[in-house]
C-alpha cells in the first residue's frame, strides 16, 4: 500500500515540479515585463506548419511530388519533437515585443448615405445605389412620374441582400481562411485529404488539449488568486493614494498574467497616444478578451452593468484596485445618470481613463458597426480611439454569444494556438464646433475602421439579437416617393 502511495506522490511530484518552476518563471517575467523571444519562434514555426499543411492539401489534389512531401514530413516530425519543450516555455515571453504580419482587409467601404435623427437615435442607411434609370416618357407632365420599371432597383437590392448582405455576416466567425490552421473548428468541411495532415492535426490536438490547456488553466487560477490576494492587500493595508498607485501596477501585472493564459501576442503601435488620466478610451469590440489585452499596457476604469456570479465577484474585486463604474440594470436605461457618473469620474484628474466599447456588442473583427453616441456627448474629455485587430490564423477571438456561453468560449480560447493581436493607438479626438455627437461618433468610428482595415458600417450591432425596426422601411418608402416626385 505504501509503495503505491509513494509512487503516486512521486508521479505528482514529477509533474508538479516542472509545472511550478515554469509558472514561477512565467510570472516573474510577467511582473518584470521581460521577454525571451521564444514566442516569435513559436508563431513563425506555426506559420510554416500551416503553410505546409495547406501545401499538402493542394499537392494531394493535384497528386504530384508525393516523394518530396514525405521527405518534408520527416523533418517536420523531428521539428515537432524539438518543439514541445519550446512550446512549454513559450509563455515566458512578454507579449509586447513581437510583430506579426496581420492580413488586413484592403478596403473600407463607407456605406453611409442618409441619416435620420429621430429621438430613439437609430441610424438608417442604404447602400449607395445607382438611381439612374430615370428615362422620361412622353406622357403628359404631372406631379408624379411613375414607370413600371421603377421597382427594379428595390427588387435588385432585395435579391442582393438575400444572397449576400453586409450585416448578418458580421455576427458569425469570419470564414474562408486561405490557410488551414489545423483547428477543426475552422475547417469548413471535414475533408479527409491526407493522412499526413490528419496526423499533424492529431498531434496538434494533443499538444493543445493535453499540454497547453492544463498549463494555461493553471496560470488562470494563479491569475485569479493574484487578483484576490492583491485586492485584499490593497483594501486593508494601504492608504488611499498609495492604493491607487500600487493598484495601477498590480492591475497591469494581473492582465499580463491573464494574457499569457491565452498565449496572447500583442503588438502595440503608436504608444505615444496611450490614453491619459481623465479621458475616455474607445475601441472596437470583438471579445471579452479585449479588456485584458488593452489592460496589459495601460490601466483603465471600466464601465458596465453589474453582473452576478463569478463575473460579479470579479467586478467587486477589481473595484478595490481602481475606481470602476458599475451600474445597476435599472439605472442603465437612464442614460443621463450614467453620463453624469462618467463626467464626475473624468473631472477627477487622478482617475484612470474610462474604457468603453461603443458598439455595445461583439462583432467579428471584419467591420465596425454603429457607435452609440452616449459617451461621445461628454465634451470635457478627449477621446482616445483604439483599433484592435486580431490575426485569425492562430485563434479566432470572436465571441459568438448565441453559439457559445462564456466558459465554453474561454475554453476555446485556451485551446487555440495563440491569440495574435495588433493594437493601434490613435491620436486623441475632440468634438468640433457645430458637430453633433452622432457625427462625432461617426468620425471616430471611421478613424478606427481606417486604421484597422475594417469595413465601416452604419448598421446597429443590436441587430444581432433583435429584428430591425419598422422605421427603416418607412424611410425607404419616403425615399421612393421623393424619387418619383423629382422625375
Amino acid at each position: 500500500m505504501t509503495t503505491t502511495t509513494a509512487q503516486i506522490f512521486t508521479i505528482i511530484g514529477v509533474i508538479c515540479v516542472p509545472l511550478i518552476s515554469l509558472s514561477i518563471l512565467v510570472l516573474s517575467l510577467a511582473a518584470l515585463n521581460l521577454s525571451l523571444g521564444i514566442r516569435k519562434l513559436y508563431v513563425t514555426l506555426l506559420g510554416y506548419l500551416f503553410d505546409y499543411a495547406t501545401k499538402i492539401k493542394r499537392v494531394k489534389e493535384f497528386s504530384i511530388d508525393s516523394d518530396k512531401s514525405s521527405d518534408e514530413h520527416q523533418t517536420t516530425t523531428t521539428n515537432e519533437n524539438d518543439k514541445t519543450p519550446l512550446i512549454e516555455k513559450k509563455t515566458e515571453e512578454d507579449p509586447i515585443k513581437i510583430s506579426s504580419t496581420t492580413p488586413l482587409l484592403g478596403e473600407s467601404k463607407n456605406e453611409i448615405n442618409n441619416e435620420n435623427e429621430s429621438e430613439s437615435s437609430h441610424e438608417i442607411t442604404t447602400s449607395t445605389t445607382d438611381h439612374e434609370q430615370k428615362i422620361s416618357s412622353t406622357s403628359s407632365p404631372s406631379d408624379i412620374q411613375f414607370k413600371l420599371g421603377d421597382i427594379v432597383d428595390y427588387t435588385r437590392q432585395g435579391l442582393e441582400a438575400i444572397v449576400d448582405d453586409d450585416v448578418t455576416k458580421r455576427f458569425t466567425s469570419a470564414e474562408e481562411m486561405a490557410v488551414w490552421n489545423l483547428l477543426t473548428r475552422t475547417q469548413q468541411q471535414h475533408e479527409y485529404f491526407s493522412i499526413r495532415v490528419t496526423l499533424l492535426w492529431f498531434v496538434g490536438f494533443c499538444i493543445r488539449y493535453f499540454i497547453l490547456f492544463p498549463f494555461r488553466l493553471f496560470l488562470f487560477i494563479i491569475g485569479i488568486t493574484w487578483m484576490l490576494v492583491s485586492a485584499i492587500f490593497l483594501k486593508y493595508f494601504l492608504k488611499r493614494d498609495a492604493k491607487l498607485r500600487y493598484g495601477f501596477y498590480i492591475n497591469i501585472v494581473l492582465h499580463r498574467i491573464l494574457s499569457r493564459v491565452f498565449s496572447a501576442i500583442i503588438t502595440y503601435h503608436n504608444t505615444e497616444y496611450r490614453a491619459k488620466c481623465g479621458s475616455i478610451c474607445v475601441a472596437n469590440h470583438t471579445s471579452p478578451i479585449d479588456v485584458i489585452i488593452l489592460s496589459t499596457d495601460n490601466s483603465f476604469s471600466m464601465i458596465g452593468q453589474k453582473q452576478g456570479g463569478f463575473f460579479g465577484m470579479v467586478q467587486r474585486t477589481l473595484s478595490n484596485t481602481a475606481n470602476h463604474i458599475w451600474f445597476e440594470r435599472s439605472e442603465a436605461k437612464d442614460r443621463h445618470m450614467v453620463t453624469d457618473k462618467m463626467r464626475e469620474h473624468i473631472q477627477n484628474k487622478t482617475n484612470l481613463p474610462i474604457l468603453i466599447f461603443p458598439e455595445g456588442t461583439c462583432i467579428n473583427n471584419t467591420s465596425v458597426m454603429m457607435f452609440k453616441k452616449g459617451c461621445f456627448e461628454i465634451t470635457e474629455a478627449p477621446i482616445y480611439p483604439v483599433a484592435i485587430k486580431y490575426d485569425n490564423r492562430f485563434g479566432d477571438a470572436f465571441w459568438n454569444s448565441s453559439k457559445h456561453g462564456l466558459f465554453q468560449y474561454l475554453i476555446l480560447m485556451m485551446t487555440s494556438w495563440a491569440i495574435v493581436v495588433d493594437v493601434y493607438y490613435l491620436p486623441p479626438m475632440t468634438m468640433e464646433e457645430n458637430e453633433t455627437s452622432v457625427d462625432f461618433a461617426r468620425r471616430v468610428k471611421a478613424a478606427i475602421a481606417k486604421q484597422g482595415g475594417f469595413v465601416d458600417l452604419e448598421w446597429d450591432g443590436g441587430l444581432k439579437r433583435s429584428l430591425p425596426k419598422a422605421d427603416y422601411k418607412a424611410e425607404e418608402q419616403r425615399k421612393f416617393y421623393e424619387m418619383l416626385k423629382t422625375e
Binding site: S137, I151, F480
Partner: protein, 170 residues
C-alpha cells in the same frame, strides 16, 4: 416554370446552400418570412413581401431550398432574359394569373410609397399607368404589354441590373 437549373454553377449553389442554412434558424428546411426578415437590408426593403412571395411558387408561405434556387436561378448571369423580365413582372402580378390588374398595381405601389401619397393620388397614378400601357383595352397589363411598356432601352437596363446580382458580390 420549367427552368433549367443547371444555369447556375455548382459553386454558386454551394454558396446559396450556406446562405440558406444560415437563414434557416429553426432548421425547418424552409425559410419563413420571419427568417428572411433577419436580414436588415431586406427588412427595410418595401418590396420584401413581394420578393418572398415570388420565391414561394407553391404558395405554402415558406420558401424551401428548391424554390430558393429556382428563384435565384432567374438571375444567373447566363440565364435567359425572359426569366429576368418575368421576375420583374411577377413583382406586380400578385395572384400570378399573368395579368397586372389595377388593384394589383395599386397594392404594389402602396407598398412602395407608404403613407407619402394619399390613396386617391395613388389611384390616379395607377390609372394613368394602365392607360398608357394597356394596348388591347382589357384594363390590365399582360406580360407582353409589360415588356413593350418598359421599352427596349429600359429592358436592357433591367437585364443588366438583374445580371449584376450573382456576379457582383464575389
Amino acid at each position: 416554370m420549367g427552368q433549367d437549373i443547371s444555369q447556375i454553377d455548382s459553386n454558386e449553389i454551394q454558396k446559396m446552400l450556406q446562405k440558406f442554412g444560415k437563414l434557416d434558424e429553426d432548421k425547418s428546411g424552409a425559410l419563413s418570412a420571419k427568417e428572411f426578415m433577419q436580414i436588415p437590408e431586406l427588412a427595410s426593403n418595401p418590396l420584401v413581401e413581394r420578393v418572398i412571395d415570388i420565391f414561394d411558387s407553391d404558395g405554402n408561405g415558406e420558401v424551401d431550398f428548391t424554390e430558393f434556387i429556382r428563384g435565384m436561378n432567374s438571375f444567373a448571369s447566363k440565364g435567359d432574359t425572359q426569366y429576368k423580365l418575368r421576375f420583374a413582372f411577377n413583382i406586380y402580378d400578385i395572384d400570378k394569373d399573368g395579368y397586372i390588374t389595377n388593384a394589383e398595381l395599386f397594392h404594389v405601389l402602396k407598398m412602395m410609397v407608404g403613407n407619402n401619397l394619399l390613396d386617391d393620388q395613388l389611384q390616379q397614378v395607377v390609372d394613368k399607368t394602365i392607360i398608357y400601357s394597356d394596348k388591347d383595352g382589357d384594363q390590365r397589363i399582360s406580360f407582353k404589354e409589360f415588356c413593350d411598356a418598359i421599352g427596349p432601352s429600359l429592358r436592357e437596363d433591367i437585364i443588366n441590373h438583374l445580371n449584376k446580382i450573382t456576379s457582383d458580390d464575389r
